[in-house]
Amino acid sequence: MESGVQNQAESEMIAAILAGNTQLYHDLIRPHERTVYMMALSYMKNEADAEEVAQEAFLKAFHNLATFRSESKFSTWLISITLNEARGRLRRQAAVRMESLDEPADEEGGGVSPALLRDWREIPSEALERGEVRKLLQQAVAGLPEIYRRVFLLRDVEELSVNEAAEVLQISIASVKVRLHRARMMLQKQLTPQLKTVSRESKRRWFQWS
């Protein structure tokens, strides 16, 4: 398995770093930079704070590397450190209302009704070359309520499993699933009409130019 190979490579690097080859730490964390930054950003309100949190998390991980146990995934461990760092910083800033830290989710409530568009056409991934489409996606994700956004980022952007997401967020697997479902449906509802418009316009544009 690919992840097994990756885990093994990481374990070996970690052993080497602990044995004194600290420069290897740079290589160890490179694949995880975006994940750590995105998770920091999901807690902090701005990019500068998120970057600061990410740097602190990587430093903390380095200093605590000896406590990492190879039964868990390095990425999951790193994310947990990042989220702790972010929560700690939010508490210190005290600028954020307490309920937004551990807001109890409205797990029961009604479902989100999706956008009903029958003639959805696939948006080719080439559309992402256009800043406009990337911006729509970024804005829609940024606009999700934060408890949904965090689950969505972990699961659908950083591709953690449901169990791993539950572990790092310290919530139940059932909560992960409910929040993930809400997040996806909210994105579907908002983005489907927008992306449809984009694709129609772009088709016209391509047609004119060809």
Partner: protein
Amino acid sequence: MVIECKHVWNYISDFLDGSLAEETRELVQKHLEHCEICSAILDSTRNILVLTADDRVFELPVGFSERLHARLNREISKK
């Protein structure tokens, strides 16, 4: 047993993750085969997930890596 669209919508996320119980999955599958609306919702949701998972959507700020590794170099060599 037949299920309504509203019920199908509740299952879309688990359906995409392949985490529905076999029995439920079959019910949803059957519904999707004849319901254009629900299959369009499923397709659009799947598409959006494909797009948001693309590495080009969420990128690190310019210079992030350079600043991070420069700081690590300073702090790690302090030790």
